[in-house]
Symmetry: C2
Subunit: 198 residues, 2 copies
């Protein structure tokens, strides 16, 4: 089948969706990092609901998959949400004024000790959109050069290098289970395959 014949699914489009009306938004809890909002909604069928969500933020994040000498570089970092050391790719919030490539390069220098001459955007991922607006941009970093920026980590991040030829073994590591990291791993494999590199 030629590319032109690929049909977009589903074939039968549903009628356009009418979003619920937001009747009221109230901040019901606030800490240094988090603001919880209570949102009152009227759905188009007349049903009303009160939902809670984190206050939406325009600030997006980046996750960087660095490739050097046919290896991926990952870091092992303490996560207080699960009280465990987790294996994953370098990531961080985009600072005001930065684009995703600048943010990715800065985070890479802070957390991995490399800059990248080549950064490729792969996909923007959301996370539990019923509660959060956060968006994570996945990038591949290549053509790396040593450069370090001071980060705010309490202890040195431990680096691990995984050969591209065995990258999917990461899924067997119980410390590699975060959904955006798992997505990034698959997305990078697709990208490498598409370019004939795997």
């Amino acid at each position: 089948m030629s590319k032109d014949m690929v049909t977009r699914w589903p074939v039968n489009m549903n009628k356009p969706l009418q979003k619920p009306t937001i009747l009221n938004i109230e901040t019901v809890a606030r800490s240094r990092l988090f603001s919880v909002e209570q949102v009152s909604l009227a759905f188009s069928n007349g049903e009303q609901r009160v939902y809670e969500r984190m206050r939406p933020s325009e600030r997006e994040a980046v996750m960087i998959v660095p490739i050097i000498d046919d290896h991926l570089i990952l870091i092992r970092e303490y996560a207080v949400g699960t009280e465990s050391y987790e294996l994953g790719f370098s990531k961080g919030l985009i600072d005001p004024g930065e684009n995703i490539y600048e943010a990715a390069n800065r985070e890479l220098k802070e957390e991995v000790g490399f800059g990248a001459n080549q950064l490729t955007f792969l996909k923007k991922l959301t996370m539990a959109p019923s509660y959060f607006s956060s968006k994570m941009n996945i990038l591949v970093a290549e053509d790396l050069y040593p450069e370090t920026l001071q980060g705010d980590e309490p202890e040195p991040l431990i680096q691990e290098r995984w050969p591209l030829a065995h990258m999917m073994d990461l899924l067997e590591d119980p410390d590699f289970s975060e959904a955006r990291n798992v997505s990034a791993l698959f997305l990078v494999r697709e990208w490498l395959k598409m370019h004939g590199r795997l």
Copy 2:
């Protein structure tokens, strides 16, 4: 290279990681759904930090990928975090006393109108473990039979069926971008390929 020769990576193991000591945990904000904790930590190198996280919960969730007539069934549902209709797989919290299979079957009946005679566990995913402890169990549902349970949705969920042969086209849909859904799509494809069905 034979399977026996596959080496676990990385080859050079780092010294065992010593977790930071939790000095204090205090609830600093609370709403109906969310409890924010402030956690004071002393890292093994003496550095101290105060982090915020959501209060950990033992309650896990399930995400169900139903397959019928060589199609995936997805639902389109309003997400107040992003104020948009999102395309994804059926999901929900595990109720007290349920195992993951019972929870998956109940959610499937509530949200999709089917029960499943065959449920297969694929992987447990975490989400932003620096802040959350939540765990999502990904399952495939097959050998479906019509059965409906009353859910708590404010409006009927819109179902869409995607042919397995075109399942990866979902990644081109801007409404399909949630990290656990993207991971589930790739994991199901791996599983189908492993069983010679793709």
